[in-house]
């Protein structure tokens, strides 16, 4: 029933989930038993559930706060804040998402599509009334809902994001969205902006890889020049479908740097090999299409006379990220100290291909390597894999770091 649906959806917009049955029961009670007009009944039912869940109505108490005062979910608040950055929307129910900042801190915001509110503009400052606070896994956020009032401010809110609060990163360190980082990088490529709100976009790179960047038109930052290198402070990371990017926003500080940067399209990772995956060791491939055979069969060409190959699929892990890697024959031969022919002999003598796998595991599992190569979908195709050296310097640095804690 339409009235009831409206109530349920309005409630969920405000962060309250109630079953349709419960809503209907109460609505019916008012309308059928007590002959209350539908409009009145709607409002009454809405208020009833708001009160039940302890959510105060905006008309009664939405308090003006600073961002660092937001410590509870389900509160109605007013905020004066600047839009520091915007993210790609993670779902169709959300029409805009990003970060707001004032002089006491910053906080995520989400604008529900159903709220039918206008989009906020990056870099502008607003008075936002009747936001509702929320919490997920210890992180607070504010929701722009239907009852929110948005008023642009003439003055500029000073944001609290200071240069030294972002962490110094290399491209390879980017591991999630919403991270404030500093990056030294070269502008590898500039692309056609994909929308009006984007002034520039393209690729930034350093010795550990490349990453997409976006510069919003309203961030009012100078244009980057392809081929030049810069020190960026206060970039914010974003993620969309597994791909990371960095956003140049209003609080970003950009300095050109003369320091030469060797951009590598490769990813470089140092860590321990923690897993050797199925399909490693001596394998047979289809002579026509090179696919690995499964029980002598090619998925495309059926039963064929396979051609031998030696390769390893493994996972390298540094305690922060895990990367699948694919090691080709030459590199495997170097690692195990045997040519593929010698490996074949070994397998024939033992009447078992598994001995080769066991040798590979012995040489790789639990050991530390530096691995470099381009990343294709899920796998890093290894160009070079070297034993990671033990560093005395690291040892001294860590001891001082621990003592300084």
């Amino acid at each position: 029933m339409k009235d009831i649906e409206q109530i349920v959806s309005r409630l969920s917009e405000l962060g309250i989930s109630v079953s349709t049955e419960d809503v209907e029961k109460r609505y019916r009670l008012l309308v059928d038993k007590f002959q209350v007009p539908p409009r009145e009944a709607q409002r009454s039912v809405l208020n009833y559930f708001l009160k039940e869940k302890g959510v105060a109505l905006p008309a009664r108490k939405s308090e003006q706060v600073k961002i660092n005062q937001i410590r509870e979910p389900g509160r109605w608040v007013d905020l004066e804040a600047k839009v520091l950055s915007l993210f790609d929307s993670p779902s169709p129910a959300i029409s805009q998402a990003g970060i707001l900042g004032d002089e006491t801190g910053n906080i995520r915001f989400v604008k529900w599509a159903k709220s039918e509110q206008p989009d906020l503009v990056e870099g502008r400052s607003y008075l936002l009334r009747n936001l509702v606070t929320d919490e997920f896994q210890g992180r607070f956020s504010v929701k722009i809902n239907r009852s929110t009032e948005i008023a642009e401010l003439d003055r500029d809110i000073e944001s609290a994001v200071l240069p030294q609060s972002s962490a110094d990163y290399k491209v390879v360190d980017i591991s999630g969205p919403g991270q404030w980082i500093n990056l030294r990088a070269k502008v590898v490529q500039l692309w056609e902006p994909s929308s009006d709100s984007i002034q520039q976009q393209g690729l930034l790179g350093d010795e550990t890889g490349v990453v997409r960047f976006v510069k919003w038109a309203k961030s009012e930052q100078p244009d980057l020049v392809e081929g030049r290198s810069y020190l960026f402070r206060n970039l914010v990371t974003d993620e969309f479908q597994g791909r990371f990017s960095v956003k140049i926003n209003r609080s970003t500080v950009i300095e050109e740097t003369e320091e030469p940067i060797e951009v590598s399209l490769n990813r470089r990772i140092s860590g321990a090999i923690v897993d050797i995956q199925k399909g490693s060791g001596l394998i047979k491939r289809c002579p026509t299409c090179k696919r690995p055979l499964s029980k002598g069969m090619c998925a495309e060409h059926g039963k064929v006379e396979g051609v031998y190959d030696l390769r390893v699929k493994a996972a390298i892990d540094d305690g922060l990220i895990v990367q699948d890697i694919l090691i080709n024959r030459e590199r495997v031969e170097e690692l195990i100290g045997l040519t593929m022919e010698q490996a074949k002999e070994m397998a024939m003598e033992a009447l078992d291909h598994e001995v080769v796998l066991a040798l590979i595991e012995e040489k790789l599992i639990g050991r530390y390597f530096e691995v470099t190569g381009p990343v294709r979908d899920r796998y890093l195709l290894v160009d070079s894999i070297k034993e990671m050296p033990f560093s005395d310097e690291d040892l001294s640095l860590l001891v001082s770091r621990a003592e300084g804690l």
Partner: protein, 295 residues
């Protein structure tokens, strides 16, 4: 959704052994991954540790069920491998005692009848390694632990939760919320864990000093470090092999094995981002002969 393997956390054994806070992430479905949260805020579905294997026994009845004790400079922990972990089991059975050993596995918290919680590792991989590898692990574990401790120290200062502290910490060794949760549960004393890190690091230095003063042939046997058993620890109770599995981290491996392997056929080269017009050969990886790669 893309399959993603859980990162193997680096935790010193003294810390791992006394971690008893385990929970499932997300919904309560049996496929949601299970985590163990340690006193310094490490969220572990999987761990990677390197230490000295100092004991091992077959405690199985009808089938083999191996139990080993692994020690690092800070403490020791039990490791199990049974019929469902055949390679780890074989390795545990065959490696000579004592040896430096690398273990990849899932932390497991077992609650005894009298309510005590015992944390151990259910091994996925067990591999003999050398002193050098073990030292590198100590360095790495120290680094990760310090990252977590530094973040924990910084959240003492009240500020907006979205505020990331400065360059002192590195990506995602832990998160603000995990630190808070760990502190709440364990009342973590940061100095105590700082000491633990220093103890571990000093073990490397000690050996280097010994190496310098002794003739080469003498360093065959790895040193056994620190406590091998907590004082007062009673005869341990082992998690049962059959029947009810101890609270553990199966979900990840089960979920992994359910996901279809999308890479048995070569994929056509993937399109780069929408809206971009110029893709020079610099980034056009699709030009490579993809038939060569069997992914």
């Amino acid at each position: 959704m893309m399959y993603s393997r859980e990162v193997a956390r680096r935790v010193f054994l003294a810390e791992l052994k006394r971690s008893d806070l385990s929970f499932r992430e997300g919904d309560d479905s049996q496929y949601a991954p299970q985590y163990l949260l340690t006193p310094t805020g490490a969220r572990c579905n999987r761990v990677f540790v390197v230490g000295t294997l100092i004991e091992r026994d077959d405690i199985g009845e009808e089938v083999e069920y191996w139990r080993g004790r692994l020690a690092d400079p800070t403490g020791s922990i039990l490791i199990y491998a049974g019929q469902y972990q055949p390679e780890a089991s074989r390795a545990l059975a065959e490696i000579e005692i004592p040896s430096f050993v690398a273990v990849v596995g899932k932390p497991s918290v077992y609650e005894t009848e009298d309510g005590r919680k015992i944390t151990s590792i259910r091994a996925e991989a067990v591999q003999k390694v050398d002193l050098d590898t073990r030292n590198k692990w100590i360095i790495e574990a120290a680094r990760r632990t310090l990252e977590r401790l530094e973040l924990m120290r910084s959240i003492d200062v009240p500020q907006s939760t979205d505020f990331r502290p400065g360059t002192i910490y590195h990506p995602e060794a832990t998160t603000v919320e995990d630190c808070r949760k760990a502190r709440g549960h364990y009342s973590t004393n940061i100095s105590e864990y700082k000491q633990m890190v220093l103890t571990a690091l000093s073990a490397i230095r000690k050996e280097q000093a010994i190496e310098e003063s002794m003739p080469a042939e003498a360093h065959v046997m790895p040193e056994v470090h620190a406590e091998t058993r907590t004082p007062g620890e009673v005869e341990m109770q082992d998690p049962p092999v059959r029947g009810k599995l101890p609270v553990d981290y199966e979900a990840d491996s089960r979920a992994e094995s359910l996901k279809p392997d999308a890479y048995t056929k070569p994929q056509p080269g993937r399109r780069r981002q929408t809206g971009s017009k110029r893709i020079s050969s610099l980034v056009d990886l699709e030009n490579d002969d993809i038939e060569e790669i069997d992914i």
